[in-house]
Symmetry: C2
Amino acid sequence: MQVESIAEEKQGYAASLASIQEARRRISPFAHVTPVLSSSSLNQRARTNLYFKCELFQKGGAFKFRGACNAVLSLPQDLASKGVITHSSGNHAAAIALAAKMHGIPAFVVMPKNAPKCKVENVKRYGGKIYFSEPMLKSREEVALSVQEQTGAALVHPYNDGRIISGQGTISLELLEQIPELDAIIVPISGGGLISGITIAAKAINPNIKIFAAEPEGADDAAQSKAAGKLIITPHTHTIADGLRASLGSLTWPVVRDMVDDVVTVTEEEIVNAIQLCYEILKVVVEPSGAVGLAAVLSTQFQSILSKQIYKHVGIVLSGGNVDLGVLGRLQI
Amino acid sequence: MQVESIAEEKQGYAASLASIQEARRRISPFAHVTPVLSSSSLNQRARTNLYFKCELFQKGGAFKFRGACNAVLSLPQDLASKGVITHSSGNHAAAIALAAKMHGIPAFVVMPKNAPKCKVENVKRYGGKIYFSEPMLKSREEVALSVQEQTGAALVHPYNDGRIISGQGTISLELLEQIPELDAIIVPISGGGLISGITIAAKAINPNIKIFAAEPEGADDAAQSKAAGKLIITPHTHTIADGLRASLGSLTWPVVRDMVDDVVTVTEEEIVNAIQLCYEILKVVVEPSGAVGLAAVLSTQFQSILSKQIYKHVGIVLSGGNVDLGVLGRLQI
């Protein structure tokens, strides 16, 4: 855990509107302001107006660059020179490698050996040095610790880090400028860095806005934790959404517990259907994790919520687009 | 040929900056302002700064909606009530069906029987009545004439029509507001409606801007016509870019002859490579015709032009995204 995170945590949560605004100033020379797309045809299916925040167009092909860039730029000069290290199934790894490359420092990356090929290629393309681990979080953390001891590099956790949460929160600042009338946002949830940043910023700007987490049934630790009122870790996950297999952390769970309004879980079939709609109607290349928000909006669960409470303008974060196209072929997409 | 086109042609070309600005006013409540994407990685490959105008996000998945909407809205009320008819390999057909549906009039569409399945589906989805013809232009025109006689519907040619050219030209108005510093634009060429509108508007706004047409080697009537200084029709075409098989028309050839600066031809392999880059790097779903502009910029021919004349800011029109995903699978993309 980083010093900055501890300091902020004492004031409440690991990030605040101020730290998110500061992150935006820090990363804006480097990150894209991503466009928002809409489709009449998808609005009809969802029975509301949808606004797709296209983080798949972010540098590195996913929202992760926002947090990674903020974390790298927040490092003191003497620490930065030894480089950064992280462990990640893919998009955060590539984002850290890219942010490090842009700022001329080395990046060491621990990836599970079953990470998607295109995500491994992205890390290589950005010059990150890869160490493979077993898929389980424990193995990833052990390898990372050992590499950190050898190199002296600064650890940047993929989500349990205030700098990361603040970086991801910059999405809300942009999205609520692009579509100020939003009354709900649907966000894929995994370790919770993305939804924590988005929630803190969005609710600071508009306290009435509702935030829904979207999660695969086969990796539903957020839904279980919300239902139990305590953090539940699910060691085994089963989903094609390879970016959503992590569990909530000590800094993200409090935000999800206190400020996220509900969790919508979706089946694998619903995810595949949403991917297909993204390709055929929105014309964007989305990875399975990235399509879970659309899957949630179209699900029976959310449609039932909509029948009781009208949300007229719903933002959906399409979180990333790094996918092996051959995998899509096997899904018959 | 339409009355309006003849009137405008007498003043020079089939469209003007004024008719394009008028088209913009007419279609802006219905058409999307499409976003512009960029990628450092593709800039490096192209050795210049590229700006991708994403017409694949236009309503109906292609730029064609601009012209179709302008044409439908230009019809006098008494003529409009009998509906519109057109012949097209796909995107114009769907655009006419969509524009007609939005304005509550019938649409009759003649499509070649080898049109891509997704394009036929789009026409059906928008409620257009389809008549299939043989692939050749002559058969398409004959069937269209016969349906026109039966229905009294107004013919809207896919490109040889001032209203269509003016509608497509609205792309330049948007693009030059989005990226005012452009010094060149690369546009796929087929019948020439798109490039004629874009060229007329862009050169009226900035007389120094250069316009390059991008064309498959297997359908290179524009390159042959430019080289010969006269309109050459190539009856046989061979390319995966199914939207680029038409030949220039009497209203588009004068614009291409006088105002388009050069034609860059690309191989099928270069088109496939460009499609792949659009998917993997830009994260957009592009159809083969839509990727020909990127193929052209990366080609030896254009790179050789760049080595003599520096264009620092190059716009590329990604013209459409309607593709059968199974076809991409067979291209091993």
